[in-house]
Amino acid sequence: MCSGRIDPSLIMEAFVNGADGVFCGGCLLGECRYISGNYQAQGKILLTQLALKRAGISPERLTIKFMSSAEAQKFVKYVSEFMDKIIELGRIGKAENLSENELKLKLEAVRNALEGKKLRWVVGKRTEFMESGNLYNEIFTAHEIERMFKEVVMDEVDLQEILLRLKNKPSSVKELSEKMRLPSHRILREIANLKKMGLVELEDVSGSSPLWKTVDE
């Protein structure tokens, strides 16, 4: 097995089950036994960090470091630094100012987003975009990839969070906007998307702020 085996879903398994930090170690870039495995890992970690950040969870709780099997000192240094960082941040949720329930919901949302088809597709295609370009032969730089990741991650994490909240309790756009500390036009946009996908519907049209709920299966 290779660091390329690291599936964001494994990382989220750890966070959802109470981990305060996740450290990934890989071989030195360019020295991977499986050629590109650690680059794959790097992309997936970046994506996961962005998703955590979007959900208001410190992305510093996740790191990836590269070293060879002969670099024990480096390993110790990286792990110690990471431990110090996590101790400084404290228990997950604390530094983030999130109640236990809110934390759980946010982590679920991140997990669902990362396990979803869209983000997996985007991170999977990253190598191709960076090496051979897209269908129009446009090659993307690391910076452009990160920007693209950010946009897709934003949509996906917000969408999943809204979905989870509506599953718990039908809510209005205003309520969601307050809870998620996001402008209502963003919420509206995601609701429109969810509606198009047939995942949410109006529960109650009466009144000035209609309530949305998830569609029962």
């Binding site: 390329g4 981990a19 020295e31 794959q40």
Partner: protein
Amino acid sequence: MEEKLRIGVFVCNCGTNIGGFLDVPEVAEYSKTLPGVVYVKENLFTCSESGVNEIKEGIKNNNLNRVVVAACTPLTHEPTFRAACEEAGLNPYLFEFVNIREQCSWVHKNEREEATQKAKDLVRMGVARASKLEPKDRITAGVIPSALVIGGGISGLSAALSLANRGFKVKLIEKEKKLGGLVKSLYKIYPENINAEEYINQKINEVKKNKNINVFTSTEIKNVGGYIGNYKVKAENDKGNELNFDIGVIIVATGAKTLSPEGLFSYDGKKVIDMLQLEDKLKNDGISQYKNFVMILCAGSRNNERVYCSRICCMSAIKNALLIKEKNPESKIFILYRDLQAYGTTNEETLRRAKINGIRFVNYSLNKLPEVEDNTVRVYNEILGKELLIPADLIILATPLVAPEDNENLSKKLKVTLDENGFYLEAHIKLRPLDFSTNGIYVCGTAHWPASTEESTTQALGAAARSSIHLEKKYVMVEPIVSSVYYEDECRGCGLCASLCPSNAIEMVETPKGVKAKVIEVACRGCGICGASCYRHAIRMNHFSDEQIKAQIRAFLEE
């Protein structure tokens, strides 16, 4: 019905290696409380004969269906313990290894309590994973006992001979009309200065005489399909005939070429020539009219465009300088260098001899390149700190070996990787220096990197030996730690997994349900990139499945 878990845990003291630094009895006692565990045994040395017998008896007497050993590393003893399970009738993949030595007792020698706690955590995680293990069978496939060698230089010839002399059939493919490669163009070969032509012709004759070798000159590879043990190779010769070969292993020995000196240091091919032209002049007694020789090393290399060192040019230059001196003791020879690669005792000795024989070495830097003028070379001597004007009747440029452009093409057909300079890239610089990452394909000689004939030959023999392991065995066996398109209905045939696979172990096949990914198990090396990337979660990693790893993660985080 799901069988009930009956897990046995064996905790090793490793003499005092583990037992001396953490509380093994406490770890053993703790293991008894873990879900599914029905039997726990502490061993002094689990790997000893008595330890191994205790595993076997433990399995038989307690009907164990999973075994966990907490000891050292899988690298040292996984085969031992797996064999013990197998002998007691338990599938070896129902065995789980927990490392409480390298990853625990040895690194926490001064923290007994914490080390004991960590060992408990590790065992708990191991037991959790063991609960999810599934029996697996090793994967085997036949190997066609025939090798393909691409390239008929000294490397390809040596590899072909080595394999043929051991009784294997070899197809040797050379794209030029004649065998021999670069060595054919040389005069003498350092370090012993043997006659290059005699040497290479002798090898060529041996190859031609060998009944196990089929030589195909003026032939090029068109297409390579299949995988280790079973390659289908299509080639075509200059007459347009198509040739088809069934091949077990492939050796790439396509060599390198010298950088064209055009445009460097006023190269004109007459007064300013390159090292290969000098070799030719030496061969044909064409140097007697010159007296003042200047050789410029690193011509067109170790600059921004080509950062690497070509390794053979220094010694080629020193060799030829000495040969000129031999033919014409009156000649004056200057070698302009940036750094000298005269590694190894024989080369050091040759360098010393060159200095004793009056060959002058002048150090220059990349910032102040020598300038070729009429009958002189102007060079800033870095050591003296001043400019020298050296008379020159013949100026020789040592240009580096560069990768042939064709590499791009052939590497794609073989599905192997090139490095940033276009040379073939080995699987691992230290662990697998002659293998490609793709199983069953090997590299040797200057195809890989600039090397002397001695180094090339050594590599060729190594590559032949490596590849012969499969030919000799007649089958390849791989661990069933491979990926599988387990949820085939989920697969949409997008090909993402195949494009990311570093082992080219995934092919897209037509099925009644449309195009689907299919894992070529013998080619898969179990890295797991495909599974972690499949956007529809269609791929499962055998023996390191999501369920198994997640069980481990959850066990660790249990309060």
